[in-house]
């Protein structure tokens, strides 16, 4: 093909002890969006780092416009027009948009930065992709979606020809994702080639022209997007067929365990009412920023409600702290397991027993025998993959870390378990395992409130679905026969939705 921009052949990269990439190939055409797919640990990020000059391959060649290039450092990659946009976008949250775009290439007058010119050039670039952002805005005060736009503009300012988007929509709402799609398509039409890495199959099927699958550091295959579907893609990723990806067990809902009435927190959500019964999995969904996480935190006592009432097993309760919530039988799996869920440099055992030290104590002293027994028992029960419970949490994979957080909550023996984005950033294999754990817990009579923005898991795992829109409950469905569109309609703000459709029409 004449418009072949990049081809990478027989790329092998060896790290101490592991062969991270072996004989991987990849090619990219001008004006193409090419998805790179694989489970966590399949080698995607190593591959991207080889392309971006962060890692040097042990063997293999990189051809750009047919000429071989040695990508010796990130600066070389930048010079050849390769730019990467990361999931947590903000490079410098305290600095202005213009400064983030032009950092290191500011317009100068002699030795001094020309702020007027720097700002006006930034404005031009922002306008060119249709981003309504002021160059003087502090990047940290923008939404993650807008921060990503700033990163894209920054890449364009450096005349990027190849844009690597690493999990760009992981933190974005549906609407924001669609805005990003529109911009990505726009860039493609301008001849920019995009490498898209995503866990979300929607992204891949909406955007990509081709998809390449990696597995265990090796190359599996490349398909045109028309000739592959979700099942095939998953099969290629995991190397086997996942028959029961959503192992939902049918249960007969029991007594009402949790009910909240007209719960409000000034500035975050208002008049939220919902209930969870024993044996039920209830989903609380909506766009990021709709107030779901805030509701979960308030029920768990980490934040205080300004009005409303919480009932546990029919009794009105006041919950002032997570400690009180736990003693009332409420558990929470927080959204960010590394920052909120785990003490990363502590052992699995110590992480699991932290909320239940009293149970592991003999008098005032912590009994290491009891501690070990409790942790080891939960490790077996949840099938946490680690040598033993003395292993540090940071040494585990994302999925196993998430299991440790679940184990920690189960040790308290909660009646109600709130799971905030339980499968965020977890590989496909571990996802299935976590769904299975959820099903089993519900079958044992626990009430589960699952905060999630992943439509497939909401639809397939939940018994009932509450949808939040701009801080209020906008809809309540039974999960039977529900479609993704019904949920999205309730989630997307009305005025904005209309505007959004219009914009999409203009863009396409």
């Amino acid at each position: 093909m004449s418009d072949k921009l990049l081809s990478m052949n027989r790329i092998t990269k060896i790290f101490p002890g592991v062969k991270a990439l072996s004989d991987v190939r990849f090619d990219l055409n001008k004006g193409e969006i090419h998805a790179l797919v694989g489970e966590n640990g399949a080698g995607k990020s190593t591959f991207i780092k080889v392309l971006a000059g962060v890692h040097q391959p042990d063997s293999g060649e990189i051809l750009l416009d047919g000429a071989q290039i040695i990508m010796k450092d990130p600066t070389t990659a930048q010079k050849h027009g390769i730019a990467a946009i990361h999931q947590h976008a903000a490079s410098y949250p305290d600095l202005s948009v213009a400064e983030n775009i032009f950092i290191g290439h500011e317009f100068m007058i002699g030795p001094f930065v020309n702020w007027r010119k720097t700002n006006s050039e930034a404005k031009k670039l922002l306008d060119s992709i249709g981003a309504d952002i002021q160059p003087q805005d502090i990047v940290g005060s923008l939404s993650v979606a807008r921060q990503q736009l700033v990163e894209i503009v920054k890449a364009l300012s450096q005349n990027a020809r190849i844009l690597i988007m690493d999990e760009p929509t992981a933190a974005l709402s549906k609407q924001e994702s669609e805005e990003l799609y529109a911009i990505a398509k726009n860039l493609r039409n301008r001849g920019v080639a995009i490498i898209l890495i995503s866990h979300r199959f929607e992204d891949i099927f909406d955007l990509a022209d081709r998809a390449t699958v990696l597995r265990d550091g090796g190359y599996v295959g490349t398909w045109s997007i028309d000739e592959i579907d979700t099942n095939k893609l998953v099969a290629a990723m995991v190397g086997r067929d996942i028959g029961h990806f959503f192992p939902k067990k049918q249960t007969q809902p029991g007594d009402e365990l949790l009910r909240i009435e007209n719960l409000s927190r000034t500035g975050f959500f208002r008049d939220v009412s919902l209930s969870v019964r024993a044996g039920e999995i209830v989903a609380l969904t909506g766009l990021v920023g709709a107030g779901r996480t805030e509701v979960a935190e308030t029920v768990f006592g980490a934040e205080q409600a300004s009005a409303g009432q919480i009932y546990i097993e029919g009794k009105p309760v006041q919950i002032h702290s997570p400690n009180e919530a736990m003693s009332l039988g409420v558990g929470l799996l927080p959204e960010d397991r590394q920052l909120q869920g785990l003490l990363m440099n502590w052992s699995i055992e110590r992480n699991i027993t932290l909320p239940t030290l009293k149970q592991c104590a003999r008098g005032a002293f912590v009994s290491s025998a009891k501690e070990y027994a409790m942790a080891d028992n939960l490790k077996t029960r949840l099938n946490i993959k680690a040598n033993d419970v003395k292993t540090n949490a940071e040494a585990l994979s994302g999925g196993n870390q998430q299991k440790v957080v679940v184990a920690k909550q189960l040790a308290v023996q909660p009646k109600i378990l709130i799971l905030d984005e339980p499968t965020k950033g977890v590989d496909v294999g571990s996802k299935a395992a976590i769904y299975e754990i959820m099903s089993n817990l519900a079958a044992q009579g626990m009430g589960i409130l699952m905060v999630s923005s992943e439509m497939p898991e909401v639809i397939n795992m939940a018994d009932r679905i509450y949808v939040m829109r701009e801080g209020r409950i906008s809809a309540h469905f039974s999960a039977k026969g529900i479609t993704q569109n019904q949920i999205l309609e309730a989630a997307v703000p009305l005025a904005k939705a209309a505007r959004n459709t219009a914009e999409r029409e203009v863009a396409s």
Partner: protein
């Protein structure tokens, strides 16, 4: 079992003991060579004399335990010296006021001691309150300002002068705190005995109980600890309060040591000694680690170094202070450098083996 033994041998405390031993041996050699050269008539660096000379360097040991608790949470308290000074001032003022009012001297002293400890505790509680109420401000900034405030109150109470109690038999009872008791032929300062008792209690509490575990959890990741049901605010408030209380214990011994003269600018820089000793003992300003055993060893190590440099090498106070500074920096620098060299070596080794 083997691994456990290895871990103990490679622990920070074990390294401290090795350093401690090396320092003692070196000082002993110097002592012997000085005798041989006729510079001193008898050996000055022996167990009995060192233990006795240790007294002035043990005054801030109580405060060090308090600072260690604060460091374990990842915070810092710079006001400890000032709250000790204020406690000491309160001790003197209360005693004087009550004596002037005709209260029996024994009762006056007892009440004054209670007032002293209560003052330190209150100072700590004030810090704790500000720290948990004003989370936007760092404990360093808060205690930096409260120390000015505490010392200011002490100045106010004492009117800028020195309060002394000459030939006051009752108040002189405090001096006995600076005495020694003879156990097994060696006279051991009371302050060391009391400190070791405190240290034992704190060791058990911090390292063996659930509460101690929660303190370290808070220091490692306060958000995750809070969401795991740890009552972080309550712990912080309590720790700052205890740190204030321990500062007032230091104040009591200090008044005893300085022949009962009380000034508002006493114990300046004690908090720095305490921080230095706690850091050398394995605590870190970033929180989540450290051991009371390490603190005890490092306090004695500091003492021995100061005594040795002073008596054997004739170094003045300033040189001793300088050694504190050097030790403080080296005690974190060396492990970091060792870790970096270790990591580099491992990478090289692996690379070499993987390429074969």
């Amino acid at each position: 079992m083997k691994q456990r033994l290895k871990r103990i041998l490679l622990s920070w405390e074990a390294m401290l003991i090795v350093v401690f031993a090396i320092v003692c041996v070196a000082f002993n050699q110097q002592d012997a060579s000085r005798q041989a050269a006729g510079l001193s008539k008898k050996d000055v660096f022996n167990l009995a004399s060192v233990i006795k000379s240790m007294r002035p360097y043990m005054l801030y040991s109580f405060m060090t335990l308090g600072i260690a608790l604060i460091l374990a949470m990842g915070d810092i308290d710079i006001s400890a010296g000032a709250s000790a000074a204020l406690s000491a001032a309160m001790l003197g003022i209360l005693y004087k006021t009550m004596m002037d009012a005709g209260v029996p001297s024994g009762l006056s002293l007892a009440l004054a001691l209670v007032g002293c400890v209560a003052t330190g505790t209150l100072c700590g509680a004030a810090n704790g309150f500000l720290v948990i109420r004003f989370k936007e401000l760092f404990p360093m900034i808060i205690t930096l300002t409260t120390q000015l405030f505490f010392r200011g109150v002490a100045f106010l109470l004492l009117g800028g002068g020195t309060l002394t109690f000459k030939n006051d038999k009752t108040f002189d009872l405090l001096k006995t705190l600076y005495n020694t008791v003879t156990i097994g032929g060696i006279s051991i300062p009371i302050v060391i005995i009391v400190f070791l008792a405190f240290a034992a209690v704190f060791y058990v509490w911090l390292h063996l109980t659930a509460n101690g575990r929660r303190i370290f959890a808070l220091g490692t990741n306060s958000k995750a600890a809070y969401l795991s049901g740890v009552r972080t605010d309550k712990i912080k408030f309590t720790m700052f309060t205890i740190c204030g209380l321990l500062s007032s214990v230091t104040a009591v011994f200090f008044v005893g040591a300085t022949s009962s003269s009380i000034r508002a600018d006493s114990m300046v820089g004690y908090e720095m000694y305490a921080i230095a000793a706690a850091v050398l003992g394995g605590f870190s300003t970033s929180g989540g680690k450290g051991s009371i055993v390490g603190v005890v060893i490092s306090l004695f190590l500091f003492g021995v170094i100061k005594i040795g440099l002073g008596t054997l090498y004739g170094f003045a106070d300033s040189m001793v202070n300088m050694s504190v500074g050097v030790i403080l920096i080296l005690s974190t620098l060396l492990p970091n450098v060792a870790a970096q060299i270790n990591a580099a070596g491992r990478v090289r080794k692996r690379r070499a083996s993987s390429l074969v």
